[in-house]
Amino acid sequence: MAKIEIKNLDLWYGDFQALKNINLALEEKRIIAVIGPSGCGKSTLLRVFNRMNDLVEGIKIKGQFVIDGENILDQRTNLVTLRKKVGMVFQRPNPFPLSIYDNLVFGLKVHGIKRDLDPFVEKSLKAVFLWDELKDRLNRSAFSLTLEQRQRLCIARLIAVKPDILLMDEPCSALDPQSTTGIEDLMRELKKNFTIIIVTHNMQQAARVSDETGFMLLGELVEFNKTEVIFTKPQDSRTEGYITGRYG
């Protein structure tokens, strides 16, 4: 059975339909990229995975969204457990205005783990390859870090609470090319343990890191396939038009 199964998903912001009949099945431990021009609904789709859309007023969602056999759109879904399991990395690195250490243990404390936090800190920093750089200055403010380090810290902060799925909303759009390469290498490394869904409007990035790619346009999932197929032999003329740069 697929890790994530989306069936007939529709989503409205008030009267505006942002997602139209999305159907998708995703396997675990790979990187799935969602590409498409601005406003196509890719970020909206990503924010259904952890129900971050709930913050938006006037939102209406229909359909099924099953993660590990549970429909997360169910009213009874425990958002705290869901978000522990499905972590999110944002477009701009958003460490809290706290020390590096406090950023890392934030999730643990929130989930009731209050003692023996040091091993978690070390492990999650090692997972994002920041341990050697930062181990001697864990008490410094997270704002003393470079943008790339901040983004890595935000990923480490998620890893500390042991999620399964990592959502990444344009995680490199605030970074320079070198840092972007760094984060992409990290993603390939993290793929061994996590299912990663990345939204990007950088097509090359999708081509570089992902195993499978979905192309979205005006709220529809136009095409979903293995990344090399999407970028070499797209089935839909709209996909072809986008990846060859005719629009978008």
Partner: protein, 289 residues
């Protein structure tokens, strides 16, 4: 022609800007000139720490310790009441209340700020003072405690509106980050939003306290105005401000009493200046992050 117009307008605005500073300096100099004359009569220590205020006895005793303590009691009492309620109210408005209730509450807070202090004092005199008298079974309800409650109402709008601004300006990304980690709404508020807004909240509290210390009319009406060193919050006190307001009309210009009142003015000026500088420091600290 256009250039000349531009030049004149520019200079006009410049002089208006200068004028406000100029007036502050003039006021301060006048205060200093009149107040410092007192030093030829009583020493600064004797003045600040003197335990009795009998300005019209012969020779006059001009110690303002009872007045300082009066202001302190009322201010601390008001702060204890208004700070927690004010911050909680700001958190509710900024983070929890639905849009409609938020509008109503904000309008309500502004309305509270718009009530003239004499009206609040009057209402306090008619309702609060008898209530305090009966509740604690004391000879008079005109106490520091009553003044504290009334002043808490006056500090609240300042605290709420500035703290709410501070909470509101916490970047949304912090909130999203915390929620996305599985924090509950309340955990997000007290672990991320409150610490991130802390310097703005401190500034809000300082400005609220500044308002309380400078307030005159309401305290004069309900604190009883006894210039004795208070032993408890349930005794009448007289504040620095009320002393000036009550006695300035009956003093002879150029007398010791007259100079002493100006010296009290200097003390008040120094206190509110210190409070404003502190709150300014915290407000700007906020911007540096």
């Amino acid at each position: 022609m256009r250039k000349i117009k531009e030049f004149i307008i520019e200079k006009l605005i410049f002089f208006c800007g200068l004028a406000s500073i100029f007036f502050v300096i003039l006021i301060f100099l006048f205060l200093l000139k009149e107040g410092l004359s007192l030093l030829t009569i009583v020493g600064p220590f004797e003045f600040l720490a003197g335990k009795s205020w009998y300005p019209i006895s012969e020779p006059p005793q001009l110690g303002i310790l009872p007045l300082i303590l009066g202001s302190l009691f009322v201010t601390i009492g008001a702060a204890i009441i208004s700070v927690p309620i004010g911050i909680a109210c700001a958190v509710y408005i900024a983070e929890i209340a639905p849009a409609k209730i938020k509008e109503v509450l904000k309008a309500g807070i502004e309305l509270l700020a718009a009530i003239p202090s004499v009206v609040l004092g009057f209402i306090g005199m008619m309702t609060l003072v008898p209530w305090v008298k009966n509740l604690f079974d004391i000879p008079t309800g005109l106490t520091a405690f009553s003044g504290s409650i009334m002043l808490a109402f006056m500090a609240m709008p300042t605290i709420v509106s500035i703290a709410e601004d501070a909470l509101y300006s916490v970047p949304k990304s912090y909130k999203e980050g915390a929620l996305a980690l599985g924090a509950t709404h309340w955990q997000t508020i007290y672990r991320v939003i409150l610490p991130a807004a802390s310097s703005g909240i401190v500034a809000a509290v300082m400005l609220g306290i500044g308002r309380v210390i400078g307030e005159t009319m309401a305290v004069m009406m309900i604190t009883g105005n006894a210039a004795a060193i208070p032993k408890s919050i349930l005794q009448p006190v007289r504040t620095l401000t009320a002393t000036i307001a009550a006695e300035m009309g009956e003093t002879v210009v150029g007398s010791e009493h007259y100079f002493a009142l100006f010296a009290i003015g200097i003390v008040l000026f120094v206190i509110s200046f210190a409070i404003n500088v502190t709150s300014d420091f915290f407000l700007h600290k906020d911007q540096r992050v």
